[in-house]
């Protein structure tokens, strides 16, 4: 069979929430997954983090490392990195109701003998000193526990995620 992108599962919110979860989306069927977080609107400027879901639920312990480059259209780029964090922080960032997209490829989440690796890229928007500003990010991520990951969560510290969809595809 030719390479194909196959829809698995999605979750959508239509009113302000702090969490959007897609559960039981990772399986032995695929090794590589494509995850898209489409944020159409937030109630106020907000960053969104990513966490993984295992047999015990959402893993919010210090198992997450990342290294990323933040790219804004208005200012110098900045590096963002962290080890032993409780999520992949600021994977997404939004303001207003003009949209934004975050795309992440996730590798080996269901392999109990491997860490879960990921890479992502985003294109989004926020208001900086009354100026409409593009924000992009290219990042690499690892969840440093060799275990079966079954799902993924987009989460915020406050409930500002208003209209959004988190979608998981399998890459054949």
């Amino acid at each position: 069979m030719a390479t194909e992108l196959q829809f698995i599962k999605s979750a959508t919110c239509t009113s302000a929430t702090s969490s959007l979860q897609v559960t039981d989306c990772f399986s032995a069927e695929y090794d590589v997954y494509k995850v898209i977080l489409q944020v159409d609107s937030v109630t106020a400027e907000a960053g969104t983090n990513i966490r993984l879901i295992d047999s015990g639920g959402v893993d919010s312990t210090a198992n997450y490392d990342n290294a990323s480059l933040y790219m804004k259209s208005t200012t110098s780029f900045s590096e963002l990195q962290g080890t032993g964090e409780t999520s992949w922080e600021y994977a997404m960032y939004n303001e207003g109701s003009v949209g934004g997209f975050f795309v992440m490829y996730v590798y080996n989440p269901f392999d109990s003998s491997s860490f879960t690796f990921a890479q992502s890229q985003l294109a989004s928007h926020y208001i900086a000193s009354s100026t409409s500003t593009l924000i992009g990010r290219k990042g690499i991520f690892v969840h440093k526990v060799a275990e079966q990951i079954t799902g993924i969560e987009a989460t915020q510290s406050s409930s500002r995620l208003e209209n959004a969809t988190l979608v998981v595809y399998g890459v054949k």
């Binding site: 196959q6 829809f7 790219m71 259209s73 997209f101 294109a123 992009g136 290219k138 979608v167």
Partner: protein, 210 residues
């Protein structure tokens, strides 16, 4: 017997609403008729080529069917040395102002650089392109929300190429936005000066997923 030959013969088939037992040929026929449910696949909209042209335009991008588009670029070459690779969007006519982008570039024989703009005439996806035989760019661009009149149009890209400095190897990745909420119905692949040659450029839609 129904049009597609499946069992039972009566039910109407449509995307997201298939009923019955299907033979391989039924699935083939229904897929070609866009009536077989298979979420998430990449669907080819159009492939174009160009030799010594000012631009390659996609003007039937099916923006009402897809909210994510993928453009693949194979062997993009400029006739004027040092020119960028750019994208322009159309909302009825192609727009030459008001774009923002932020890209990271890296040269195998030179330095890495931050490149950005808040008032560009195009969305940059490559720079310092060369005009000799082996100075060509390859890569991909994802577009988001083109058909949504209430949202900005975003893109992300990653390109790899040999640039104007004796085919020095180079890469670019980054994001861009047209910060105007309207419906985009066309995509133009171009440069800022001179003509371009492209072996192939293919535009895909990612089938609806919600």
């Amino acid at each position: 017997m129904s049009e597609f030959g499946y069992i039972p013969e009566a039910p109407e088939q449509s995307f997201g609403n298939n009923k019955g037992i299907f033979k391989p040929k039924d699935i083939y026929d229904l897929t070609r008729a866009d009536k077989y449910t298979n979420y998430g696949q990449l669907e080819l909209i159009e492939t174009k080529t160009g030799s010594g042209v000012s631009a390659i335009d996609f003007t039937a991008i099916k923006e009402t069917e897809y909210n994510v588009h993928l453009l693949t670029i194979n062997d993009f070459n400029v006739t004027t040395d040092g020119q960028p690779t750019g994208i322009r969007l159309s909302n009825g006519s192609f727009i030459s102002s008001g774009y923002q982008w932020a890209n990271q570039t890296g040269r195998a024989g030179g330095s890495f650089a931050e490149n950005r703009s808040t008032s560009s005439t195009y969305l940059e996806i490559g720079r310092l392109n060369g005009n000799t035989t082996n100075e060509k760019l390859n890569g991909y661009v994802y577009f988001y929300n083109l058909g949504d009149s209430s949202k900005y149009s975003f893109l992300t890209h990653q390109t790899t190429y040999t640039n104007e400095f004796s085919a020095e190897y180079m890469m670019s990745f980054g994001s861009g936005v047209r910060p105007t909420a309207d419906t985009v119905s066309g995509i133009r692949l171009t440069s800022t000066s001179g003509n371009i040659t492209v072996t192939s450029a293919s535009l895909y839609g990612i089938k609806e997923y919600s």
